[in-house]
């Protein structure tokens, strides 16, 4: 593959918007979902890094410059949404914070659950401040990604996965009550991020995948997604983390979302054929495996992905969820170099 007549350089925003319009921009947009790596840039612990909005904004700006990618992402962790409901956040030295002991243990806990006020949750307020700071710096040149955990997937952390599956199957009235509360929170949290300056909201919902739920439960998840996304005042992406998406692409499109986050669990060529002209693909570097890739492996993988998914636009190169702490600077730089080398439109392919 070689670069042909290169298009004039675009801003990251123009590049992403062009690919979302299913046209070819100047090069394939790169969106590394870097969250905790900003701590390393600033020489801070992960917990310390997320203690101040200024740190996160600075970390994102440094990574934007270093890796020359096309998005900033001031998200901390999914556990922060549970923190808003009174949950515990557990911090680690070498990984993202996790939610702790489930907060919902009884039927009464669901019946008494209230929609939390965003202003009462400092970690959410800090994220909004980070978005405001980033917006001031990147203006309309770089997309800012907001992130929410869907009402349908949040209970995995609120009450534990097994208890939630049982609730879904056996206590529909309590399930509905939980969804009502979670949906109100999700809409408020997403719209607050949009107001602060987020360009797009990534709606994390692994439970929409046929890998995780089936039948009427998955249909319910999609109904909730359609209703929730309709109330969010901005464009959205649906991300199912590392779970399969291909069998439910038509359902995803029916939500009105613009982007689908995918992993290696899907065949990228089939996915491209299904999404062509209708849905932009975000993916699908293997975030777990990539920490031990050599620069040569990175280049080969990036080239292969671009060859399959980038023609015609509608594609943003990314990892499959969140890049682990163990993925080093050398690998991330190699990903960026490969995209800048092989992702220039028009894409021209050798038989190699």
């Amino acid at each position: 593959m070689i670069a042909g007549n290169e298009k004039s350089a675009m801003t990251s925003m123009e590049r992403v918007l062009t690919t979302l319009g299913h046209q070819e921009p100047d090069r394939v947009p790169l969106s590394l979902l870097l969250t905790i790596h900003g701590a390393r840039e600033l020489g801070l612990s992960i917990k310390e890094y997320f203690s101040k909005a200024e740190y996160v904004a600075e970390g994102q700006l440094r990574m934007l410059k270093k890796y020359r990618h096309d998005c900033v992402n001031p998200f901390c962790a999914a556990a922060m949404a549970v923190k808003a409901f009174g949950g515990e956040v557990i911090w680690y030295e070498a990984g993202p914070p996790n939610s702790g002991e489930p907060i919902i243990k009884t039927e009464k806990d669901i019946l008494s659950l209230q929609v939390p006020e965003l202003s009462d949750t400092p970690c959410l307020v800090r994220m909004l401040e980070s978005i405001l700071m980033l917006k001031e710096k990147v203006r309309d040149e770089v997309p800012i990604m907001g992130i929410v955990v869907s009402p349908f997937s949040l209970p995995v952390m609120q009450m534990g996965f097994s208890a939630y599956i049982e609730l879904m199957h056996e206590r529909p009235e309590l399930f509905n009550r939980l969804m009502e509360v979670n949906q109100e929170f999700c809409v408020a949290w997403a719209n607050a991020q949009i107001r602060a300056g987020a360009t797009v909201v990534c709606y994390f919902d692994a439970l929409l995948s046929p890998t995780i739920t089936a039948g009427v439960h998955r249909e319910t998840g999609f109904r909730i997604a359609r209703n929730t996304l309709a109330r969010i005042n901005g464009p959205s992406a649906i991300h199912m983390a590392t779970a399969a998406t291909l069998p439910v692409i038509e359902d995803v499109i029916a939500t009105g979302t613009s982007i689908i986050g995918v992993s290696i669990m899907d065949d990228l060529a089939e996915l491209k054929a299904s999404c062509q002209g209708r849905l932009t693909i975000l993916g699908n570097l293997n975030g777990v495996e990539m920490r031990r890739w050599t620069p040569e492996q990175v280049e080969k993988t990036v080239k292969e992905i671009i060859a399959v998914a980038a023609p015609g636009g509608g594609f943003i190169l990314a990892d499959n969820g969140e890049i682990p702490w163990q993925v080093g600077e050398e690998v991330l730089t190699a990903v960026s170099d490969a995209v800048h080398k092989w992702g220039r439109y028009p894409l021209v392919f050798h038989n190699e």
């Binding site: 599956i165 046929p210 890998t211 590392t242």
Partner: protein, 214 residues
Amino acid sequence: MISENKEVLELVDQLVRVDRLGAEKIFNAVREQTSMSRTVDHLILPALEIIGRGWEEGTVALAQVYMSSRICEELMAHAPPSSSLKHPDHPPMAIAVLEDYHLLGKIIISSCLRAGGYVFHDYGRVTPHELAKKVRDDSIEIVLISTLMLRSALQVKEVKRLLVEAGSSTRIVVGGAPFRFDPLLWKEVGADAMGANAVEAIAAITSCVKGNTK
């Protein structure tokens, strides 16, 4: 080799539809005609294997795998205790989750093991040091470790180091998302085997008992 006879396929159908009564009816019908041991070998485990394979192939959802394993565990729990212990002579075993609060994988494996007649310690959520100590204290020979995050998967290395340092030859079987996404990770962390699902975990246990690794 799975025995895909009529009863097995009917049980699979009831399980993925989360029909407890339907599953119980099939279980009781088979149980009345044969021993508990044969019911486990020729009905329960083959059904769970088909469901596990369905998850690998994308035709069965994780929620269905979980509910199926719970139903099978309940069916076994209602059987006479003496007859439900199919493998009383297997080496001392334990299962644990390293640090995470995401326990689903461990719960599914535990349910399937119990449904298969295995007896084991459940250590719940532990740190590497806690796990190594419990393994030594209970003279565990096979420990199954479930993880969700790469960070915790890499902590298996520490468990291995602590066990080796203590002179333990306990076999480690790992499972969970990081090991599915990086097929070389189980070797890197010093595990003896990897089980992508419950049936693979049981196969790994069998392999460890025979002294093999895979």
